[in-house]
């Protein structure tokens, strides 16, 4: 295995990049016994100014959420002050399975939300952002214009809730006329995941 690697070189997991005396290991790398190895399939990058080495993963990448990732999921359960979401999409990629995320009442809206049920209900499709993975739980927020419920169902008859007008943010049921409230995303009902 040759040890002289150049920036931009194609590299696979396990390839030796250098030693910690020479470089500062950055993302896409790992260190064992003082040697820096790649842990991704991707492009090698040397930053000559900072001495940092990283491996940029290839286009496909892993669909595992990081802090800051935008995710989409269904609300499956509401317990006390927390709504639990079944996350099915991370960024632009659909998950092959799902991951569970937690949305706390204090993270639903920039404004005060008294009860979770005033803002989301079981079955709603929600776009959220990952704010933390503390205790290995995905903590989500829907604070922000483009975050929140993107499709909701009537809690009385199960019909699709429609937006009366974009300004009022009021939702009504197309089937039974029931009015409901949600923390909606700015593109509610537009069909964007």
């Amino acid at each position: 295995m040759s040890n002289t690697k150049r920036s931009g070189e194609f590299i696979v997991p396990g390839e030796r990049i250098g030693v910690i005396e020479e470089f500062i290991p950055n993302f896409g790398t790992y260190v064992q016994d003082g040697v820096i190895y790649s842990r991704n399939v991707g492009y090698l990058s040397f930053d000559s100014a900072t001495r940092k080495v990283s491996v940029y993963p290839v286009a496909k990448g892993l669909s595992f959420p990081k802090i800051g990732s935008i995710v989409v999921g269904h609300v499956v359960n509401i317990q006390g002050l927390t709504a639990f979401m079944r996350v099915v999409k991370v960024g632009k990629k659909n998950l092959s399975g799902f991951l569970t995320g937690a949305l706390h009442v204090s993270d639903i809206d920039a404004r005060y939300t008294k009860e979770v049920l005033n803002a989301v209900k079981v079955g709603d499709l929600v776009r959220a952002k990952v704010i933390s993975d503390a205790n290995r739980i995905l903590h989500l927020t829907t604070k922000g214009e483009n975050l929140g419920v993107i499709l909701a169902l009537c809690s009385k008859c199960g019909g699709t809730l429609l937006l009366k007008n974009r300004k009022s943010k009021k939702l009504y049921c197309g089937e039974c006329g029931n009015f409901e409230t949600r923390k909606i995303a700015s593109d509610y009902g537009a069909g964007n995941m």
């Binding site: 295995m1 194609f10 696979v12 997991p13 396990g14 390839e15 030796r16 896409g28 790992y30 064992q32 190895y37 842990r39 991704n40 399939v41 991707g42 993963p57 290839v58 286009a59 496909k60 990448g61 892993l62 669909s63 595992f64 998950l95 092959s96 399975g97 799902f98 991951l99 569970t100 290995r136």
Partner: protein, 241 residues
């Protein structure tokens, strides 16, 4: 089994591999996938995850659960094989999983599972090794962070000669078979089995020959990943234009 010129039933030299072809990213539904042909072996592997574990009580608090299913298609062998997993397939699923596990950063994905599915479409001896090699490619294709690739190859003893990469007949009629999985950059062995009859010295030779074979197959593995990557890059550039 070895002729007067020292060649094997399929005309190979003792230390020669069968023809190998690999392709990465062959299944669109899977998070990662790969295909290998090694001799007449034709094997597909797919990786799903990291995703939430089902059933949930199997989830591990500090790392991902790695699961592996090695399965042979009913038509993959001479006589139809029942599709129900045999004891052999269950054992191989276990040893292949244990061969791949040391290479994966499972601790990055607590409470999730990474599922590997290996389907043998046609078997020609050495399917556990080819299956391990192709599963490692599928894992890399899924973008799962890894310490090293894993590459596997068997060596064995046929007609008193230590040979590399046994085919079906050599596997059945030969004196011994030593499948080995190897992490080429870390120099570690993660799968080792043997059956037959070998002295310690013969075993040592077989082990070394198998590791040599692994190093050769590793080059194909890298090429397969590169081929996949280069086409993606071209597709992206095409879109930008």
């Amino acid at each position: 089994m070895i002729n007067e010129n020292g060649l094997r039933v399929d005309g190979r030299k003792p230390n020669e591999l069968r023809l190998i072809k690999m392709e990465v990213g062959v299944l669109s539904n899977a998070d990662g996938s790969a295909y290998i042909e090694q001799g007449k072996n034709k094997i597909l592997a797919a990786v799903y995850g990291p995703r939430e574990v089902h059933p949930r009580h199997l989830a591990l608090p500090d790392r991902a659960l790695l699961r592996c299913r090695y399965h042979m298609a009913p038509f993959s062998v001479e006589e139809r094989k029942s599709p129900a997993p045999s004891r052999r397939e269950i054992e191989l699923s276990k040893v292949i999983k244990e061969a791949l596990e040391p290479a994966i950063f499972l601790e990055k994905f607590p409470r999730t599972s990474i599922d590997i599915f290996i389907e043998v479409l046609q078997a020609d001896g050495g399917t556990r090794c080819a299956g391990t090699t192709v599963a490692a490619l599928a894992l890399a294709d899924a973008g799962v962070p890894m310490r090293d690739l894993v590459v596997a190859c068997a060596a064995g003893k046929v007609d008193g000669v230590i040979v590399l990469d046994l085919n079906d007949i050599e596997d059945k009629e030969g004196e011994a078979d030593v499948p080995v999985a190897y992490m080429p950059n870390l120099g570690l062995i993660s799968l080792l089995q043997m059956d037959g009859s070998l002295t310690i010295e013969e075993f040592n030779q077989s082990l070394n020959l198998a590791m040599d074979g692994c190093k050769q197959i590793y080059k194909f593995q890298k090429e397969a990943l590169k081929a996949r990557y280069v086409t993606i890059k071209e597709e992206v550039e095409e879109c930008l234009r």
